[in-house]
Every structure is written in structure tokens, then in C-alpha cells.
Assembly symmetry: none
Homo-oligomer: 207 residues x 4
DNA sequence: GATGAATGAGACTTCATTCAT
DNA sequence: AATGAATGAAGTCTCATTCAT
């Protein structure tokens, strides 16, 4: 139908614009943080007028929510739950894959980490809850993995509530420290992952 | 003599007020973060007029700096460098003492952690630099301890650049997660410290 | 074409608003002086919101500069340098024309004189420099005219540094005194000009 | 009486302090103008506490009034009315004396001129009225002198309303221009006075 | 009387959001 | 749908004046 085609076209353009503003928001929020970023900045980057902005997002706050939601979705999409079914790759190998993917983020998606690990922190209650919730899922994923490992006899008995947090914290910290050093060669990522896994699996003590 | 006394009195009162406003700022910043906290809020908490505020701090920004400086000073004061001279307590014991002290902070100084680990993040370049600097010192402290441990044969060979970050991250994460649960019994702290140390020293794998 | 028209229209409206606020500023500054005039007053007179003001002028100070610049431009535009080329009107006649134009200002542009001769005095260093500069140009114009007159043998020898100032001062004073009497008939202006010129040319003494 | 002595002493000290603050006010107002001068500045110069200020003057505004009043009194005290009684010095000589005294002011009392000719201009309605009133007395003095001169046949017929203003303006202008050049030798004053009187008596034209 | 810390009204300015075109 | 000029609430900071000591 002509009607349908026109409608579809309109919808597609609308989605296009929505994404365009979202992308601009991501960039600006990553560069300046929520408070220093002005709606004018974002419109400038998105190359739309200030009024247009409000046709697509009800407020600066809502755009920030959308940016966070998109980042969180992308982040969680990349993480593979460890598969312990018979025939799957060894759990440690799977872990390392996850680790490598995470460690690739500072290079591949620097603004993602800049926003999720830094600029979104303490913005307001809503964003804090979003972060807490993301964090909680990462933590639970880790904790359940550890418990599975314990059930399989791979992981020594421990308070997974504590150790899962320690693991999550170690990873976050490494990502945070990579966030600043702009460029690091791919080979190093493997080294980092190895070191991190060695630390997590065998600890620091010799023998 | 009388002159001296009057001067001393005046100075003391000035210091008192300075601290009073600092304390109010700490509370308000911890509760609301830098951006949502208004000078009026802080004055309300400190029970002084708005003009009074500016007799003691040149601006809201400067008060925030002072708050951060005080917190960082308190934090670093509490951390004891591990003493490896003969006759000192065993290094792990010393580490555990540090850990226990840190883990007591969510209870003893909840606003300290709220500000240093959360609200000060991403406020502006100055506060970010302060945090980065604090963080760097913590990291270096840890890294040097690990290197000392390696030299003594206690710590297995590893890239201390990575492992030190992992350790710092694990501790930060635990503090961050304790920050929200207001009340936790003293005995648990020892358990947490033990678990954390066990994780860091022996890793996760069984055997 | 349509693009051009829209742009031109927008530019015109912008210039209109700029002038509208400039005019309001002139009125308010003339009525109240720089310090008692608030941005709110000016916006009230211009019938725009406070925020609108800052779309057109970066600050109250800048508006005052713009007001002064416009007044100074208008003032200097009205003054004709005396033409001594052969065939030109007699110098005294030309002087009288200038004088008449100046003397018309209290009626035609009362706020101009109110601001330039009164309210801008002592506002701050920038405005003082602007006034000094205007004043200097008036003085030099007068001094050079006197020197030309001396070269032509029309003006008696004298220290033109002194006499030029005296002339400028006499004119300023007359303008200042006319500033308050709102209404005076046009014919009087000719009388004033005649008296002033008679004073300046022949002095006070009889014979 | 002891009582009397104590009271007198107290009164004298009060007057002393009053003058001390007045002097500080004069200096600060001359340096910075009314609006930029803060009560704190004045107290600093007077070496009294801020509270003390208000024991002697009800407000900054009132101090400014007092400063102006003192300056105006000093100024008018120095001006001698031309004495036309038989046996008195020739009127022009008396005029020159007045002129010389006025021209000595930029050196002798620079702050007086700075305040009366510049900083007090446009401060507010009260100070404007004071200036207008001073000005009016100077004008009337001049006008009556001219009329006396006309009655004696010394001064040519003219609209004294205009010429008196011209004379006052010329003098003011010269004072204003001297205000800035800090140092000029005493002999020059005579020259200036001569030039000014020559201008006023004989005008500019040759023959 | 002297002090100076405290007060709070008031000014300027920013910027998220609205609205007429 | 798109524009961008206009809006005005809200926030920071200054400084003349008051008041407890």
C-alpha cells in the first residue's frame, strides 16, 4: 500500500533520528559527563535543532537513560554464560573468552566504559539504580559460576558472596585502568587476561 | 596575654566554624552528590546563613575540594605500610590489619566512602585528578608490596602491574558493596577479611 | 531563494531585537545610571525575559559598552569638521552650524547627553577610557581648528592647549545645563549659539 | 569639673574618629568611586573595625554625603567674592587670584576634584542634588559678577545666563584636565590662569 | 566604645524546556 | 516534522548592615 510505504518510511526516519541523537548523546556524555554536557552540545553533535531534540526525547534525563540502557544491553549481550554441558569448551577457556571480550572494550567501545564506569556514577537515583542493577547481574552471574564450579569440585569452597565481588572488582579495575591508555596492542590483551586469570585462579602466593 | 587569649579564642572559633561547614558539606555531598547539593542546602545543614558560608570557603567548589582532601587524608592516615623488618609481625597479618581497617570504614565513615567511591566520580577535572592521584598511590603501595613479596620469595612471579590493580579493585568493590548495607556486625568483618585474603593469596581453584 | 529569504528575515529580527534591547538599556541607564539599573529593569523595559537578554548581550556590562559606543558614534557623526577650502561657507558660520546641532541634542537626544555627560562618568575603567577618548577627539578637533584659524590669521595667538579646553568646557557646560530644562523653544537655540560664539570670539570685556 | 573633662575628652575622641573615617572615606572614594569602594575598604584605610564605622556614620551613603559636604565647604571657603568697593584691588586681579587658587587644587587637593568633578557624578539623587546646588552657587556667583561688571561698564552686554555658564564650564574643564597630570610646576599655573583669563576677556579672534 | 563574625537581600547568569513559525 | 528564539526557575556569590561579646 502507498499508505503503508509512507508510514514505514516515516517510522524508519524517526528511528534513524532517534539513533542519531542517541549516538551524539553517548559521545557528549562520554566526553563531558552528564552535568557538564548541555542539550545544546548534544544537538550540535547530532546536527539537529534544539527543538528537534524534544521531538525524540522528552528530556536530557531521558536521553541519558536511553544511552545507559543501550550501553548496558550491548555490554550484557557480549557476555557468554559459561557452558558446563558435556562437549563444551573447558570452563576456564570460556572464562578467558569472556575476559578477552571485556578487555577489548576499552579499545572497541571506549565511550561505553567511560559512561558506565565513570560518568554515570552518582548522576542521580535513577542512573544509580540502573548501575546497581547491572552490577548486581554481573555479580550474580559470577557468583553462580563460582557455585557451579564448587559443585563440580573445580572451585575451592569459599564465601562466593565475597569472592564473586572480588572477581568483579578486579575486572572493573582493570577496565578502568585501560580506559585511559588509549592504544594497546591486541597481544597485550591476551597477556592481561592470562595474568588476571592466573591471579584469580591461583592467587598471589608462591608454591 | 589577654590579647593572646582573645586571638587564640577567635582562631579556635574560626576553626570550629570551618569544621562545622566542612562537616555539613560532607554530609550533604554524601547524601546528594556535588551537583544536586546547593550552597543553601549546606548552609541549612550547618545552620549558618548563606553569606557566612563564603566567609569560610571561597566557593562551593572549594568546599568540595576541602572535603575530598580531608577524606583522602583520613583514608591514607589509616593505612599502614607493611613492615618487613626483622621482628615485625608477619606480612599477612599486617595485611589483614589494613584490610580490617578498610572494611570498618563503611560502618565507621560511611560518608567517606560515599564521597570518595561514588559522588566525587566525574564531578570535574580537579576532583577526577584528586581521585586518580589517590588511586595511584593505593595502586603503587600495593604494587611495591607485591614486589617486595616477590623479592622475599613469598609472592609468585607475576605482572604486578596487573595483579596490584586486581587487588585494589577487589578491595574497592567490597567496600562499595558494604557501603549500602548500613549495618553489619563486627565479627563479619573478620570473616570478610579472611575470605578476601584467601582469595588474593590462594586464588579460586581447589588444590 | 527561500533559504536566503528565511535567513535574511532571521537576521533582521535578530538585529531588531538587538536594537530593542539596546534602546531599553539606553533608557534605563539614562534614567537610573549604570549601577542602579538592573538587568531585570532593562528586560522589563524591553519586554523580554531575563534569559533573552543574554541571547543578545553577554552581560550588563557589555550592553553598557554597546550603548556608549552607539551614542558616541551618533555624536561624532553629527559633528562636521570646519571646511576652510575656498568657496566653503565662512568658518564662523560652519562653527555655528555645529553649535546649533550640539545644542539641539538636549531636546532631540536627551538620553544621549544624560548618559555621555553624566551617568557614564566614573562607572568603571573601561567606560572612563571611552569617555576620555571621546573627549580627547573633541578636544583635538577644537585645537586643530584653532591652529588652523591662527595660521589663517583669524584667531589671535594663544596656547591652544588651554583655549581649546576652555571652548570644549563651555560647550559641555551649556549642554549639561540644558539637559535638565526639558523644554526650550527652537528659537532660543539660535540665541544660545550666538551668545556662546560671541563669548568665545570676542570675550567678555567691553570695547 | 572632672565630669566635664571626661566628657570633653570623650567628645574630642569622638570627633577625632569621625574625621579619621571621613579622611579614609575621601581617599577611598577618590580612588575607587562610590560604588566600587566597599565599607571594608574604608575601614581598612581608617584602621577601624567594620562595626566601629557604624558608630560614627549611619551608612556608607551618609559618609559619602559627609565627604561631599566637607569638600564643598572647603571649596567654597577658598573662593573670594570680587570686591568692588573703592580701594580694593582691580577686579581682574581679584579674578586671577580666584583662578590661581582653583588651579592649585589639582595639586593641593587632588581627591577633592576627583570626587567633586568625577566620582560623585551620577551616584544617586542626593549627591546629584548636592552637585547641582554647588554648581548653581558657582554659576550664580559668576553671573552676579558679570552683572556687576556690566553695571560698571567693564563687561560688554551679554546674556549672563549663557556666558556665566561658559565661564564656569571652561574652568571646570581645565581643572578636569589638570586632575590627571599629576605634577605641574607652579609657574605654569600663572600661565594657565593668564591664558584662561585672556580667553574669557578678549575671546579668540584677532584684532 | 570597639570588634568582627554573622546575616540575608539582591544581583547576575545559565540552561533545560517550550512554542510560534 | 523541524527550527531556534524565547522563557524563567534556580543557583552562586557580594556586601552593606547588625549584633553578641
Amino acid at each position: 500500500m502507498g499508505e503503508d510505504g509512507r508510514h514505514r518510511r516515516a517510522r524508519e526516519m524517526r528511528e534513524e533520528r532517534t539513533k542519531q541523537i542517541l549516538a551524539a548523546g553517548l559521545q557528549i556524555f562520554a566526553e563531558q559527563g552528564y552535568h557538564r554536557a548541555s542539550v545544546a552540545d548534544i544537538c550540535g553533535r547530532a546536527e539537529v535543532a534544539r527543538g528537534t531534540f524534544y521531538l525524540y526525547y522528552p528530556s536530557k534525563r531521558d536521553l541519558f537513560d536511553a544511552v545507559m540502557d543501550a550501553l548496558i544491553r550491548d555490554l550484557e549481550r557480549g557476555i557468554r554464560r559459561v557452558d558446563v554441558s558435556p562437549g563444551a569448551a573447558p570452563p576456564l577457556e570460556q572464562l578467558k573468552q569472556n575476559m578477552l571480550w571485556l578487555l577489548s572494550l576499552p579499545r572497541a567501545r571506549p565511550e561505553m566504559l567511560q559512561v558506565l564506569l565513570w560518568e554515570a556514577v552518582g548522576v542521580d537515583d535513577v542512573s544509580d539504580r540502573k548501575l546497581a542493577s547491572l552490577h548486581h547481574r554481573m555479580f550474580e552471574l559470577t557468583r553462580r559460576s563460582l557455585e557451579t564450579g564448587q559443585a563440580l569440585g573445580l572451585v575451592r569452597p569459599s564465601d562466593t558472596d565475597v569472592t564473586a565481588r572480588a572477581v568483579v572488582g578486579a575486572v572493573k579495575e582493570l577496565l578502568l585502568s585501560l580506559r585511559v591508555r588509549g592504544d594497546l596492542p591486541q597481544e597485550d590483551l591476551a597477556h592481561l587476561a592470562d595474568e588476571l586469570l592466573a591471579f584469580a585462579t591461583r592467587g598471589l602466593l608462591s608454591v
